[in-house]
């Protein structure tokens, strides 16, 4: 998909430039774009170095764990079909906490661990369970408290108030997440009403899963 978008933009640019006689401008724009790309990425160094340093302090202090515990009730409500003592819930909470702090690098491994745990509860290894879809919905709309990258770019172009978008971003992301949760709930209820047998996994204690098929997960 990305390949096509990229190719489309480049091909259309050159063709329309050839038609309108703007070929020189397009060549210049290509080099200018490359330059902007590097300048912007370098400009991100300052904020990323600072923010990741700050966040490491938080991680080492156990802030992710505290935040995870606070998210517990919400996570249990959103994942009613995952047994309460299942390790998947812990990973989901860590994933959400890391997303909240804008720690993409920490959030993804946690999310994948959570998926692997959810896959153990999955009767059909090819098809996503409702819990997996919910986890995905939470990650695609990811609530983030501080959009650091955007603040960095706005600073580079001399914004008078680079952080003024924090409030609008939190509001928009909250609405998007609420929409994701509602849509997810709606599909869940529809799935359980349809003829397809509802996916309610049977959970047995983690160490004794020897009976279940030979397929290795993860």
């Amino acid at each position: 998909m990305v390949n096509w978008i990229w190719l489309f933009m480049i091909v259309v640019s050159v063709i329309s430039a050839a038609v309108t006689g703007k070929l020189e401008a397009v060549t210049e724009a290509a080099f200018d774009g490359a330059k902007t790309g590097v300048t912007v990425s370098f400009g991100l160094i300052s904020i990323l170095v600072f923010w990741l340093g700050l966040m490491r302090i938080g991680e080492d202090a156990g802030l992710l764990r505290v935040l995870s515990r606070m998210l517990g009730p919400a996570v249990r409500f959103l994942f009613p079909d995952v047994p309460r003592n299942h390790p998947a819930l812990g990973y989901i909470m860590s994933n959400m906490a890391a997303n909240l702090l804008g720690l993409g690098n920490a959030a993804t491994p946690m999310g994948i661990k959570a998926m692997q745990e959810l896959q153990k509860l999955n009767p059909d290894q090819d098809t996503a369970t409702p819990a997996m879809c919910t986890l995905l919905a939470l990650n695609t709309s990811s609530i983030t408290l501080v959009p650091t990258t955007l603040i960095a770019i706005r600073l580079q172009y001399e914004s008078a108030n680079a952080a003024e978008i924090v409030g609008s971003t939190i509001a928009a992301t909250a609405v998007a997440t609420a929409a994701a949760i509602l849509a997810d709930r709606w599909y869940r209820s529809r799935a359980s009403r349809s003829k397809r047998p509802p996916i309610t996994p049977t959970y047995t204690a983690p160490p004794s899963q020897s009976g279940k098929g030979g397929e290795a997960v993860g």
């Binding site: 170095v49 700050l54 896959q119 983030t144 706005r154 928009a172």
Partner: protein, 180 residues
């Protein structure tokens, strides 16, 4: 409504300084050597910024060419009459299409808008908010389901795209509400 606007701008003012002071204080209370830990974690920032250069350069080139060739204006001229009555700048529309598909592409386009119109223009603010408020749905699905071998994603894609659409509309609405 006025109250909500005030509350959101207070949030903008306080969020970052609050985190900057709260996190180290909390950590010091937990007996973490704050400065050394900061330096240790900060090392990762450099690599992260450098590693995105190829993605951003690739997308920035395509988007700059697209704008300079006049193709962008032609495309936008179709949407302007539809969006103008709502007070929505047509320039942000391509961002709504790019955002769920490619993170680097939408970041490059946001940068292009901020560069062309200024970070404090309505377009710059809306673009920043859209870019910051949702994630790249297609990428997230590929990574998360790919990691465990799920091939049938059921309704996950639909939910993700729906929330992107809502986030897009909400970003525009919130910015028009707060910043005008």
């Amino acid at each position: 409504m006025r109250q909500l606007v005030e509350w959101l701008s207070t949030l903008s003012v306080w969020m970052i300084p609050a985190l900057i002071v709260f996190i180290p204080l909390f950590a010091a209370f937990k007996k973490v050597p704050v400065y050394e830990t900061f330096v240790e974690g900060a090392k990762d920032g450099f690599g992260t910024a450098i590693s995105i250069i190829p993605h951003i350069v690739g997308m920035m080139v395509a988007i700059s060419m697209f704008r300079a060739s006049g193709a962008m204006d032609i495309m936008l001229s179709f949407f302007k009459p539809l969006l103008a009555p709502l007070g929505v700048p047509a320039e942000v529309l391509p961002l709504g299409l790019l955002r769920p598909l490619t993170g680097a592409g939408s970041l490059a386009y946001t940068t292009d808008l901020i560069k062309s119109f200024g970070p404090d223009s309505m377009i710059g603010r809306i673009a920043s908010t859209i870019q910051g408020s949702t994630d790249t749905t297609l990428y997230v699905i590929t990574v998360y389901f790919g990691a465990v071998g799920i091939r049938k994603s059921r309704y996950a894609l639909k939910v993700g795209l729906f929330s992107d659409l809502v986030g897009f509309a909400a970003s525009i609405a919130v910015c028009l509400l707060i910043f005008s």
